[in-house]
Structures are given as C-alpha cells and as structure tokens.
C-alpha cells in the first residue's frame, strides 16, 4: 500500500502536514497517520484564539484502538478550527488533506523541523519496513 504525500505540503516526523500560504497555514494529519490510527471517532481541537509554540501539542485524535496527540508544525494563533471534523470525524480518514483539515493558524515565525514530501515519504517507508 502506498500513501499519498502531496508535494505542496510539508510534514512533521509525527505525521502532521502544513500548507503555508503567506502568513496563514492550514494543518492536518497525513494519509499515513489516518491509516495507522484507523477509524477516527473523536477529535479534540483547540479554541480559536489559542496560541501555540512550534511543535506544541494542540489536540488529540482518537480511534477505537488508539489516541494520537496532534502537534503543530509552526508557531501561531488558531484563527479557525474545522467544525465539520468534530461532527463527521471520518473526514480525517477519507480526505486527510482536504475536508479533513484540522486547524488554520496565523503564523508567528518559529517552525518545528519540517520534512518535504520526499523526505516524509522516505520516513513512512522506513516505518513500514
């Protein structure tokens, strides 16, 4: 099985993606992450207005089997959360890079160590052995 890793995104080693557009960024979890977690049944997201450091835990995604903490790839203030995902958690599984996005932030500068799509794909391949 191969996982989608769009090349316009950057990734954390903890399997979050970030799409940076000027000083605004959208964040979600990768195709590999949603597959590894299994059917997502709860997503706990922060309130709009909350500020986070780069790499900070901003929420949790839960499946029947496991909990997965969510880490923010870049520092910033939450300006939107995806309310659809709270109502329809399977969006994280079915469309992790689209309708399953989690938060949008206004960037404040710092970034966690980010991987490009090629480096992230290599990381996922090494996990799958």
């Amino acid at each position: 099985m191969s996982f989608k890793t769009p090349t316009n995104l950057q990734y954390l080693a903890s399997h979050e993606w970030i799409l940076i557009e000027g000083d605004i960024a959208t964040v979600g979890i990768s195709d590999y992450a949603q597959d590894a977690l299994g059917d997502v049944v709860y997503v706990d997201l922060p309130d709009v207005g909350t500020t986070f450091a780069a790499g900070a835990e901003f929420g949790v995604a839960e499946s029947v089997k496991a909990s997965s903490e969510l880490y923010l790839p870049a520092a910033g203030e939450v300006i939107a959360v995806n309310g659809d995902v709270s109502q329809q958690t399977d969006l994280v599984n079915t469309d992790p890079y689209g309708k399953g996005w989690l938060v949008r932030i206004k960037l404040s500068g710092d970034k966690a160590p980010l991987l490009d799509a090629a480096a992230y794909t290599a990381l996922v391949d090494s996990i799958k052995h």
């Binding site: 099985m1 299994g38 059917d39 029947v64 052995h129």
Partner: protein
C-alpha cells in the same frame, strides 16, 4: 523485527487480505482488515471470523484427568458433562490469577484446555509440576493446532452451510468432534464476543481451506482490534488488563467461576478468606467529561485522591460513547458514583454505570 515474531498458519491469508499486522504477545497478528468499527458491526449484526490460532491448547488425559483439573482450576469440573465446555481460572495459592481458560470435555478422561497466547509458557510451567501427583498426561498441542472463532448472530447459518445440522443442534458451550471439508475438527459453541458463535479447532494443514470456506460462506474477516472492542462491551475479562497475578477473582467479578464448594484446590484456602474480604473491584464507567479513557490511566475520586486504574477504555463502537472498565477501591465502586479519569494529566469526569455495558446474546 517482524522476522522474529511468531506466525499462525493463517499468516499468509491475512497478508493476502491486506490486514494491518501488529505484534501481540510475541505473534504477528492482524489488528484489522478494513476497519475495527466495520468488523465490530459485522460480528454484532452478522458473522465475523477471527484467527485465534495463537492461543494455547493443552490436552489433559488419563484416569486422574478430572481430579487434576479439580486441583489446578477453580471450576467444578465434575459438573462438566462430555461434550460440554466451561470457563475456569488457574489461581495461585495467594488467590492471584495465573490465567483464565476454557475447559472442553471431549471424553470420559479427555479434556482440552484453551489458554491465552501470551501465557502458554507460563501456564505450562505453572500446571506441569502438579501432574506428578496424578495419573494424568499433559501435552501441549498449541504449535500443531489452528483455532478460528466464527462469531455473531449469523454464525450458525454460515457454519450450517458447510456442515449442516451439527451447527444448529450444538448447544451453548457444547463441543463436538466432527468433520468439516472432509477433515477432523473440533467445533464448540463458545467464543468471547458477547454473541452466539463457534470456535473451530483443526490441524494446521487444514486451516487455510477452512478459513477460506468460512469467508466464502459469508463471514467477514475480523482482527484483534474488533476482538478487543467486542469482548470489552460485555465486560469479558482479558488477561493482562482485568486479570493478572495480583488481581483476585472477586476483585475481577469472577467469583461465579470459583467453586469453593467442590473441596480443596490450589488457592482455595485464600480464596475462601478473600471472598468476603477484598478491597478493590472492577467497575464499568461512562466518561461524561471531554476525553477518552484508555487502559493504564489513573482513577481519582472527585477530590483528587488516587483510587485505582483503568484496565480497558475506548470509544465503544456499539454505544458510540467513551466507556471504560477500572479496578478501583471497593468503597468507591457503587453505581452512580462519580470518578475522575486522569487523561493526559487532567481529570475528566466519569460515572460508574451498570456492569456490563452489553448483555451477551448467547443462544441458550
């Protein structure tokens, strides 16, 4: 890493079905094929098929087979007729649980024990020394025996399509030696999902054909993820979670499986004292705050004092809400009592509810 893990004879079938494989008790096992929730529903509504060949099978045979089992288990095995199975525990002299098991009586002096995969070596070491006092032969058939669990309200129809009336007439907890696809098998009306269902024991050489035939007859392949969520809802204990060497049967609400009236057995003296004098108890709880309880999380009373630990917790597929089982101080264990589950360092409120969550739907 996976090269070092043990594989059941159905391992290749799991890979062909694109199962997600995980390590479980030293085995490389399927945790899910399409998804835990789909597989969970398949068993509650239709029929699911599990590979549980990793579990252990011991044969106990000989003139003292009954006396031996009366001595090393908590069950009253004298009440088990030929062709019937029952649940039992191995207990330590201090009352702790070595393992839980099913005993299948197949002949006058012939019993099959099914034990947990992760405890095969431990159980063998525990019960072997006791054989010296009995005219009994104990043998480990685990490496040669495949075991499949066909579970759900549709299990009877699936099995009947291959084997006819045997599936229909076998009573709850009945067991029979018969043939399936021309091969000798043992079929029992047992399982661990809270639904009607069967378990099929066969030699390794015949497992793939039987597995494929049961799937072709309409069963959905199900992994260990659904096996865990299915046994969790009816609060069926899983060793290493609700049961352990330092948890006694009364704490685990398994007093019904301890037959003190049958006479002395390993652990009976202590169990007799513990019966009215235990300090912790398993409870079922529903999380009412925001969060999911998971096994290992601490449990506090509502003023912050530690009172126990979550043994299993998850979002329940059947009920659609976060539920859990916890082992807590007996004084706090009443239904309706509020407790806090410590989820990532923060207390999340929960309430103790009726045990179990799900009423098993056996065909009796």
């Amino acid at each position: 890493m996976s090269e070092e893990l043990l594989r059941t004879v159905l391992h290749g079938e799991h890979l062909r079905l694109n199962a997600r494989m995980v390590e479980f008790g030293g085995w490389d096992m399927p945790v899910q094929y399409t998804g835990i929730i789909d597989e969970h529903r398949a068993v509650r509504e239709r029929a699911g098929l599990f590979d549980v060949s990793h579990m252990g099978e011991f044969w106990v045979e000989g003139p003292d087979a009954l006396a031996f089992l009366q001595h090393v288990t908590t069950a009253d095995v004298s009440q088990l007729a030929i062709g019937h199975a029952g649940y039992a525990l191995f207990c330590r002299p201090d009352g702790g649980v070595v393992d839980d098991l099913f005993i299948y009586r197949l002949g006058e002096q012939r019993y099959l024990l099914v034990v947990n995969a992760s405890n095969i070596a431990k159980d063998w070491q525990w019960i072997s020394p006791f054989t010296s006092n009995f005219a009994v032969t104990l043998s480990d058939a685990s490496p040669d025996t495949a075991l499949m669990a066909l579970q759900g309200p549709g299990a009877e129809a699936v099995l009947a399509s291959l084997i006819g009336d045997v599936a229909v007439t076998l009573p709850f907890h009945g067991v029979a030696e018969t043939t399936l696809l021309g091969q000798s098998v043992i079929i029992a009306r047992t399982g661990y999902t809270g639904e009607d269902g069967f378990e099929v024991f066969c030699g390794n050489a015949h497992a793939v054909a039987i597995w494929q035939a049961l799937l072709a007859a309409g069963a959905t392949p199900c992994g260990l993820g659904a096996r865990d969520s299915l046994r969790f809802e009816p609060c069926l204990a899983l060793y290493g979670h609700e049961l352990a060497d330092d948890i006694n049967p009364y704490e685990a609400r398994l007093g019904w499986a301890v037959k003190l009236s049958k006479g002395e057995f390993v652990g009976s003296a202590t169990l007799n004292d513990l019966k009215s004098n235990y300090t912790r108890r398993l409870v079922a709880f529903e999380v009412t705050g925001k969060g999911i309880a998971r096994g290992g999380y601490a449990v506090h009373d509502t003023t912050g004092n530690p009172i126990g630990v979550v043994t299993t917790g998850m979002p329940s597929p059947t009920f659609g809400k976060p539920l859990g089982i916890a082992l807590i101080a007996r004084a706090e264990a009443s239904e309706g009592n509020q407790i806090d589950i410590i989820v990532r360092d923060k207390p999340v409120r929960a309430v103790i509810v009726k045990y179990p969550f799900y009423q098993s739907r056996y065909k009796k």
